[in-house]
């Protein structure tokens, strides 16, 4: 099947939409508390099911210098609230935080990231907000409001959570929750590093910790199965998480981006347990066997061979890791041959997405970039705190720098991807430390596209974990990945010059579904057959 034709150059318009007045308050201090450089997440979700993507932004908090107990982080103050912005028909946004019941981010937490899913299969997307401190699960009531159900659900966690994501690890139709935790750290035992430069400390300075897996019981509550699943057996410094079934055994696996150590690939054994196989599978270290500063991650197929590959964003001099899925349960490191090595060797990457921005049939790469240290220029003039995001266009599996149209360097962190204006092209929202979210609206192309909304019946309602193939391309349904962020759950395919499409879906339930002669350039809801 011929998929491709000459692509136009994708270029974003940098938009400052009316009403989107959020400022990420990370509160940098001379104390250099490590949390200050780590937020914040963004989610693209249609919380009111009006067909338009809305934006949820996680705020940091107020940090004292020095921090005194009790740690309140000022989250009762509206400046430090997380915010929900409802998109209006004219592309403007309205802050509906208070009306939605999301005001006041609570006690003793400093916000980090967000995960989105309809965990109770009621047709409305719910929010899980991670923090240094207590995490919060907001149930979407379906009437434009949310309720904090954390205590009832049993998912408050503790310590320092960063990214999180929903997936169905046991294929029971209920979305489970994975929460990455960074390290054993607290403000009272913080320290600075870098001698005279007075910098944030590297992760090795603090003990590693385990991530958390919550099993969804299907009754609105979750069970912490971290121990019995084997997840807690591996201590890491986890920042990013993404899900896909890498070995095609029908069970969704987990990739965890760890900072300053080997990456984890948790293979789902299909019996409620996981085995960490990163090293044996060739997805744990760099090509030279070096530990990586894994931050953001995407687990999708970049070379259209039908298998999910892994791309991990890192610190400068490490280059972003491309782990190509070789199909025998193992991966090979392809950062150099894909061209991503030269594009990333001087940059620090956080939020990341593999999306077909020019609709040419090949998924391109977008990375939110910025160094960890806000004074890095003093230490190494060749590095920069604020950076332009990376747009790398995919030409048959090789990445080349694209003209993003973005000319202002930012301290980028989280990034979420979705079609904000429903024009068939993928847009980006990127968070910036101490700044406003950047909305990069895709100018679009003349290529064709197809966007699917999965409606699981036997599987989870969102269809997360489904393998969706369209005209030879593959995507694994998820809103997780990137860094601390949740993307539009709709599944977008660029189709080049193709004028119709064949859609093949392998649902988490095992059901296979094929749709032939599907019209292109449309949003299509696909309902899982009730019976196989």
């Amino acid at each position: 099947m011929i998929l491709f034709s000459a692509a136009t150059t994708p270029t974003f318009d940098v938009k400052r939409p009316q009403g989107l007045d959020f400022v990420l308050q990370n509160s940098p201090t001379p104390q250099r508390y490590l949390i200050e450089t780590m937020p914040g997440g963004v989610a693209l979700l249609d919380y009111n099911n009006d067909g338009l993507l809305d934006i949820f932004l996680v705020n940091g908090g107020k940090v004292g210098s020095p921090m005194r107990l009790p740690e309140t982080f000022g989250r009762h103050d509206p400046r430090y609230w997380n915010r929900l912005y409802r998109q209006n028909r004219d592309g403007s946004f309205t802050d509906v935080t208070e009306a939605a019941g999301l005001a006041d981010a609570g006690e003793s937490n400093y916000g980090m990231g967000v995960a989105v899913a309809d965990y109770d299969n009621d047709g409305y997307p719910d929010l899980y907000v991670t923090s240094y401190g207590k995490n919060i699960l907001y149930h979407n009531n379906g009437d434009g409001t949310f309720t904090d159900v954390t205590a009832k659900a049993g998912v408050a966690a503790s310590g320092w959570s960063v990214s999180a994501g929903f997936f169905d690890f046991n294929n029971d139709g209920n979305l489970d929750l994975f929460v990455t935790r960074y390290m054993e750290w607290e403000t009272q035992h913080s320290k600075t590093c870098g001698g005279e430069w007075h910098t944030y400390c590297p992760p090795e300075e603090f003990p590693a910790t385990s991530s958390i897996l919550y099993r969804n019981r299907g009754d609105g509550t979750f069970e912490d199965v971290s121990q019995k699943s084997g997840i807690a057996a591996k201590k890491g410094r986890a920042l990013g998480v993404a899900f896909a079934d890498y070995d095609g055994d029908g069970f969704t696996d987990i990739f965890v981006a760890n900072d300053g150590m080997q990456q984890f690939l948790f293979h789902n054994n299909g019996n409620g347990t996981f085995t960490e196989r990163g090293l044996e599978a060739g997805a744990a270290l760099s090509e030279d066997g070096r530990r990586l500063s894994g931050m953001g991650v995407v687990f999708q197929d970049y070379d259209n061979d039908g298998r999910p590959d892994i791309i991990v964003t890192e610190l400068p001099r490490e280059i972003y890791g491309v782990y190509h899925n070789d199909g025998n349960g193992s991966f090979s490191y392809r950062s150099l041959e894909t061209g991503l090595g030269t594009l990333s060797s001087g940059s620090s990457g956080w939020g990341v997405g593999l999306e077909d921005f020019d609709n040419d049939g090949w998924k391109d790469l977008f990375v939110a970039q910025s160094h960890v240290l806000d004074n890095v220029e003093q230490i190494d003039p060749s590095l920069h705190y604020k950076e332009l995001p990376l747009l790398a266009l995919n030409h048959s599996g090789r990445f080349e720098r694209g003209d993003s149209g973005i000319d202002t360097a930012e301290a980028g962190r989280g990034a979420a991807f979705g079609d904000l204006n429903n024009d068939g092209s993928i847009d980006v929202v990127m968070t910036t430390l101490s700044g406003s979210p950047q909305l990069y609206l895709n100018r679009g192309s003349k290529q064709h596209w197809l966007t699917l909304t999965l409606r699981g019946t036997r599987s989870n309602r969102d269809g997360y974990g489904a393998r969706v193939q369209v005209n030879g391309q593959t995507r694994f349904a998820t809103s997780a990945g990137s860094y601390e962020s949740a993307s539009d759950k709709r599944i977008h395919f660029g189709l080049g010059s193709a004028e119709n499409a064949q859609v093949d879906i392998l649902w988490p339930s095992g059901t296979k579904q094929t749709l032939k002669d599907v019209r292109v350039d449309q949003f299509l809801e696909v309902r899982e057959p009730e019976q196989r």
């Binding site: 870098g194 910098t199 944030y200 400390c201 590297p202 992760p203 090795e204 900072d259 300053g260 090293l279 044996e280 060739g282 270290l285 090509e287 030279d288 066997g289 070096r290 530990r291 500063s293 610190l315 400068p316 001099r317 490490e318 070789d326 025998n328 193992s330 090979s332 490191y333 150099l336 041959e337 894909t338 061209g339 090595g341 030269t342 060797s345 001087g346 960890v372 240290l373 230490i379 190494d380 003039p381 060749s382 090789r398």
Partner: protein
């Protein structure tokens, strides 16, 4: 170790018998590290017999052992007035003067006592750098790997190099070599934009100077500008086709851009020009693996491991081999290499980039 306090083998002249008990008492006290008592006794000996060379030398030595180099100078000088041929007194005085910063005055005494290490150090201070290098090298040949001597020799050669460059910059500030020297200095200081500018100026003035393109290429490589680095390294390999480092650098720059085939070619050439260099072999293995030439990759990495069994590069070669075998479905071999890699990793923790 530079001997700061020497045992004295003096040929003593005859002296007053009245001084002898004080000398003996002083030497006993000195042996017991009672330096104040020793100084008092030696002082009495020189008062009883103002011609006692032994008394003045012992007094000077006792002061030095106590760490009072300034107080040691007078008695030692007086001893030499009494007997100017006393080698041990010259040696002690030379050390005492050097310790007090009187390097110029120390030199004749250190010359007379044939003390090359201290002499070399004194000559560094007085700017007699070629002589300092000569003496320190001679001292180092007698005491190989002495850390103090290694340090001072490094300092002397560094200063000599700086002296030469300073002369160059003063006499020929607009010359290609002056710009090259400035660029190298900026490079060491990691001031890359300035280094680049100076190298380019040097090349403008003298386009085909060997080494200049190599050095400019390293500036670009340091900033991960691999395409520019490739260009410079390629020019250098044209100027110096026999330069193994230029071939290696070009190969590595190509490798960083994923250009596997030309990278492998250049790295094979580097290996031919200067065989068995671990860095070349490691990069050659990577380039070959990237190209899909498993045999060459396996050969290069195995050869490397044969040369450097325990180094970080050997660990990386084991890791590379594990990947190679994994791709070939040779699970047992892959696991074995991974074990070797982990063994070496555990014995040598890695450095992480600054976060």
């Amino acid at each position: 170790m530079i001997p700061f306090f020497l045992s004295l083998c003096l040929l003593w002249q005859g002296g007053s018998t009245d001084a002898l008990p004080h000398l003996q008492a002083g030497q006993q006290a000195e042996k017991n590290h009672h330096f104040d008592a020793a100084i008092a006794e030696f002082r009495k000996a020189t008062e009883v017999d103002p011609t006692s060379v032994e008394g003045f030398v012992d007094l000077g030595q006792a002061y030095m052992e106590k760490g009072e180099f300034g107080n040691a100078i007078s008695p030692l000088k007086y001893a030499l007035e009494l007997n100017s041929d006393l080698g041990a007194a010259h040696q002690l005085l030379g050390y005492a003067l050097l310790a007090q910063g009187y390097s110029k005055e120390a030199i004749p005494h250190l010359e007379k006592s044939g003390e090359q290490s201290a002499l070399g150090i004194a000559q560094i201070e007085t700017g007699q750098l070629p002589d300092a290098v000569k003496n320190l090298e001679a001292a180092l040949s007698k005491h190989p790997n002495d850390p103090d001597l290694l340090y001072y020799l490094g300092r002397a050669t560094g200063l000599l190099s700086k002296q030469s460059i300073d002369t160059l910059l003063a006499a020929y500030p607009d010359s290609a070599r002056a710009h090259q020297a400035l660029a190298e200095n900026y490079f060491v200081l990691r001031q890359m934009p300035q280094a680049e500018k100076e190298f380019q100026q040097a090349l403008k003035l003298r386009p085909n100077t060997p080494q200049l393109h190599l050095e400019l290429g390293e500036v670009y490589a340091g900033a991960s500008q691999w395409d520019k680095a490739e260009e410079e390294f390629r020019t250098e390999t044209k100027l110096q086709p026999g330069n193994a480092e230029a071939a290696y650098r070009l190969g590595n720059a190509l490798l960083q851009q994923g250009k596997a085939r030309p990278a492998k070619f250049e790295l094979q050439r580097a290996d031919w020009l200067l065989p068995n260099m671990p860095e070349t072999l490691y990069a050659l293995g990577k380039a070959a693996a990237l190209e899909g030439d498993s045999a060459t990759a396996q050969h290069a990495w195995t050869q490397l491991i044969g040369i450097e069994r325990l180094s970080p590069l050997a660990a990386q070669a084991h890791f590379g081999l594990a990947g190679l075998y994994r791709k070939q479905g040779k699970t047992a071999e892959a696991d074995r290499e991974l074990q070797e890699f982990e063994k070496l990793q555990n014995s040598a923790p890695q450095e992480q980039p600054q976060k």
